[in-house]
């Protein structure tokens, strides 16, 4: 089945710093989503981005489907950005099922 790899696994930032999180996937997909899970376990959908670039405030994402990777950019990080960032892709031929990476755990220190 499709493999989803995220890097780095862990990241520590000072407030105000920028960061880039990466998601590599092993097969063609037409469904890719980024999520943020806060320390209380709540999962928030950040982007639905099977291809192209999107921006939402300090966050932006780019997916290069032909090269099988996606990037999540966080600018001017804040302590509230702490948590785990997950990339999830639709299983090829079956977008009903999302396959998830192991996530990037981000800690933003004041």
């Amino acid at each position: 089945g499709i493999q989803v790899e995220q890097s780095p696994p862990d990241l520590i930032l000072q407030e105000g710093a920028n960061s880039t999180l990466r998601c590599n996937f092993s097969d063609s997909v037409n469904n890719l989503q980024w999520f943020h899970q806060n320390p209380w376990g709540q999962l928030i959908n950040l982007f639905y981005i099977p291809s192209g670039t999107k921006q939402n405030g300090r966050l932006s994402a780019t997916t290069v489907a032909t090269e099988r990777y996606s990037l999540l950019y966080i600018s001017s990080s804040q302590t509230t950005d702490s948590g785990v960032y997950f990339c999830a892709v639709g299983e090829p031929g079956n977008n009903r099922k999302l396959i998830w990476g192991l996530g990037t755990s981000l800690a933003v220190n004041p």
């Binding site: 037409n30 469904n31 376990g41 928030i44 977008n95 009903r96 999302l98 998830w100 192991l102």
Partner: protein, 116 residues
């Protein structure tokens, strides 16, 4: 605009018991998916319901079953609980969009199940 709501928030059960978790989808959504998330792991797909039918199932035993009601709400039932069933159970809703099934998922806050 009501988001995805799940109940209960926490639950403690004993091995061998049965449990029912409930989910109401986001307003306007018609599809409900259930995920299991163990500590330190990404969510694992259990199954998805649309039009009151199970449309897709992940690698979970038959002890895990579900239901979707005409108002799109859903239940997850787990029978004969095992210690390994302890996890965060997440419900996600989306809007069916034809055969591509491409739709952003919106999650509830989850139910934390502990099996002792």
């Amino acid at each position: 605009d009501a988001g995805v709501t799940q109940s209960p928030t926490h639950l403690i059960k004993t091995r061998g018991q049965q449990v029912t978790l409930r989910c109401s989808p986001k307003s306007g959504h018609d599809t409900v998916s259930w995920y299991q998330q163990a500590l330190g792991q990404g969510p694992q797909f259990i199954f998805q319901y649309y039009e009151e039918e199970e449309r897709q199932r992940g690698n979970f035993p038959d002890r895990f079953s579900g239901h979707q009601f005409p108002n799109y709400s859903s239940e997850l039932n787990v029978n004969a609980l095992l210690l390994g069933d302890s996890a965060l159970y997440l419900c996600a809703s989306s809007l069916e969009q034809g055969l591509t099934y491409n739709s952003p998922l919106h999650f509830g806050n989850g139910t934390r199940l502990t099996v002792t």
